[in-house]
Symmetry: C2
Subunit: 240 residues, 2 copies
Amino acid sequence: MSRTDRVVDGITAMILDGSLAPGDRLPVEKDLAATLGVSRGSLREGVRALSVLGVVDSRQGDGTYVTSLDPSLLVAPLGLVVELQGAGHALHVHTVRRMLETEVAGLAASNAAGAGEALARARAALDSSAATLAARTSPAGGAAEDPADHEALLEADIAFHRALAEAAANPVLGALVEALAGRTARHRLWRGIAQAGADERTQDEHEAVLDAVLAGDTERARVRMAAHLLEVEDFLRAHG
Amino acid sequence: MSRTDRVVDGITAMILDGSLAPGDRLPVEKDLAATLGVSRGSLREGVRALSVLGVVDSRQGDGTYVTSLDPSLLVAPLGLVVELQGAGHALHVHTVRRMLETEVAGLAASNAAGAGEALARARAALDSSAATLAARTSPAGGAAEDPADHEALLEADIAFHRALAEAAANPVLGALVEALAGRTARHRLWRGIAQAGADERTQDEHEAVLDAVLAGDTERARVRMAAHLLEVEDFLRAHG
DNA sequence: GGGGTGGATTCATCTGATGATTGCGCCTAC
DNA sequence: GTAGGCGCAATCATCAGATGAATCCACCCC
């Protein structure tokens, strides 16, 4: 086992056995290096690795702290990994995303009564994208999309799905969906959707999902979300 | 942006734009450090971080290579992250696991015809655990479980779910399930199940799932897997 | 032709030093 | 007495150089 691995294992072990809790500050580099029996260089490599994983956070002039260990933080690096998959497993990734988002819609519908704020954000996101679609200069299906419109629709799409995930009230589920539907992946998708002139249809599908969620109709919400993402998958197959 | 981040971004960018493909060898540390404009120490921190993420692999005396970038490799660090969640989000994690495994069962049933080998391994895993249950000295429900039996049941459980995931033929899905149902998490679960004397029942549930999968009955496979994992979740709530 | 051996290459690790940033206590001015 | 500014100490960030360990590969001997 390399020195760096010893560092990573040592620090995670300290977190697991409770000697380091979220928010706690790690010993200074020199002391921690001595404790773990490695040099400062090796220690820094290990700490940096944990930093990339979102487990700790180093601040110059201050110290190194254990993060909150929130799922959203820790799953973030998975997004990078999804990017690296490239086109090879894009369809597989999206299949999993569809499964998870379907459950998100179902849970959000079940929780509709207690998730008013999150659902209001979902509503606002759809209003925003509707306004963009109504106000844009070029007609639907035009090849010369306004890049600003494109960006606005992408933002609204992300906001909509994120708000639904919050309404589902499962942070692990939300974090995974966020990681799987990465920004660049979505960027590619939306390009294809816009080129096919299907952005208005996407808007309608989003509206249908939200209607079912707001009505607390779990099954309809699930089916509509699944159908929506199957459409997206078709775009992946056809234009991806 | 720190130097190390520059290193991570630089290397991932090279992979994304195709100048580095899976299996390729990275330039030697000195050259790469010069290219990225950082010292060797900073370069090593960045490379080590990517190594922990499973993106690259350094071998002393040889060189540093881009890994296969298989989902199973890249999702592995997620397992560590799940461990760190501790009891806080255990139920949330398992809820997501249930969702994914339900889909695994469904896909495995759909693919039953073309996944004979994987399903044979699932069958073998169940035979193994059945033999363990039949041969064990202490009667069911005994508090004094044989640790060896406990370990054997755990192994068979892991093998069963893994074989099903292979039959589902979606590597991303399989990798996620593997990460979510980590070894130590399962260890805790099985302890609770054994103490409650429910290991025979678990065996029956596994058998029911496999029957439906082998019959190619997607819906029955899904329902039975979901029901099985709901049982497990009840143990989490009661004894976790 | 096959197997062993040596050198060259490359990563692994350590040591020491310097700069940048932050936090905190003290000190001064009002 | 209080508020604001200043300086010092602590800490991480980064660099440079040197040594050890593992691997690969070509060469040589048999």
